[in-house]
Symmetry: C2
Subunit: 230 residues, 2 copies
């Protein structure tokens, strides 16, 4: 018998799973309540609307992403840049193992589906991704200050391009049903293109890393989606 | 009184508009028929399902994109690379003028929303984007053969990264409601990063182009979405 005190958490994690399996609009509140084993009254006790639940799901994913990233042991600016693909690759691998295929980036899925129809949810998600972009920009500025970026590279533009590349390649992997194993290597390549020396050395480091079991362990809290059996 | 012979075209162009305004799943067949001024029987005469209509909408957008791109006067491989952001920018500007905001890439919107739930539609869209990626790859190979790409640049990977970048920055513009004017310049920057010489000359050409009214005219057929008043 599920504990009532878990209800909010169950609703959010169930929604996170169902939205990734299908989409936000494909899943109704009735189905959500049934899958999470909560009553509809309980749902509306915690969330005034499905849109408010959407925000909580976004925050769950943002927390998981930040936790995964903060677990990195990277120290130099270039290592910190490369820690981003590692975090994305680890999270995407966990999602692929759970769902049996690439299901996209939770943030990108929401952005594509809801930006034109739910401005409140759009702004909430935009705020979360803006924070992520600020983090990327800070790392890029550190790399520039350390002389690690190619001449002429604007750190803020690189941060935006990296965020866009991250969104774009995950979207294409979802579309092509091509698995997620190529995502982190492609993002490492992308970063190498902006690192000093075209980066012969960085590229070879990556090539070595790809051959070794060097992928970071996914953080348990970075996988907040209960399996369908739970 | 609308002509019956136009019914299929009206259904497709109305669907293209409504799907961009909101999303595929947010628009039902009943509403589509009402907006397109056709009877439901007529809809199912042309389309066995909403999914079949989705394919026709994708083909409409693919046709418009190819027509816009084929109108380019680019001759050198580098110019042909830069013609891609010009085509994307022109199409996105037309959509922004019509909808009053960035509404995303029609292909990316479908990919994010339906890849996990409609495998038939997913494969249809993946085929269309694969054709686009093959075109990009051919241009990248020509640029590599002409010595225009930085040493170590893999043309096929560059084509995939360019497609991903195109999808990612449009998705972020839609999320951030930040307008589409920065999209083509950002993609030109992205390409310049892979062109020989870090491309001081290419960058300055772009800077000049940005100051001149040099954006390509949108092709009328590249705007297949009737305005709400039509």
């Amino acid at each position: 018998m599920p504990r009532t005190s878990d209800a909010r958490e169950r609703i959010v994690s169930t929604a996170a799973r169902l939205f990734l399996e299908r989409s936000y609009q494909a899943v109704g509140v009735d189905e959500l309540c049934q899958s999470a084993d909560v009553r509809k009254g309980s749902f509306y006790h915690y969330f005034s609307s499905k849109s408010e639940l959407g925000k909580a799901v976004i925050d769950l994913h943002a927390h998981a992403f930040n936790k995964q990233l903060s677990g990195s042991v990277a120290t130099t600016p270039t290592e910190k840049l490369h820690a981003i693909p590692d975090a994305i690759g680890a999270i995407q691998s966990v999602l692929e193992a759970q769902f049996g295929r690439a299901v996209g980036c939770p943030f990108g899925n929401f952005a594509a589906e809801l930006s034109t129809t739910d401005d409140d949810l759009r702004r909430h998600l935009a705020d979360r991704l803006a924070a992520m972009e600020r983090h990327l920009a800070a790392v890029c500025h550190d790399a520039a200050a350390a002389g690690a970026l190619r001449a002429g590279t604007d750190p803020d533009r690189l941060a935006h391009a990296l965020l866009a590349q991250y969104q774009g390649i995950i979207l294409l992997a979802k579309l092509n049903d091509s698995g997620v194993s190529a995502l982190a290597p492609a993002l490492h390549d992308f970063i190498d293109g902006y690192v000093v020396d075209g980066s012969a050395s960085a590229v070879s480091q990556r090539a070595r890393a790809a051959q070794a079991p060097a992928a970071p362990e996914p953080d348990p809290d970075a996988t907040p989606h209960p399996s369908p059996q739970e």
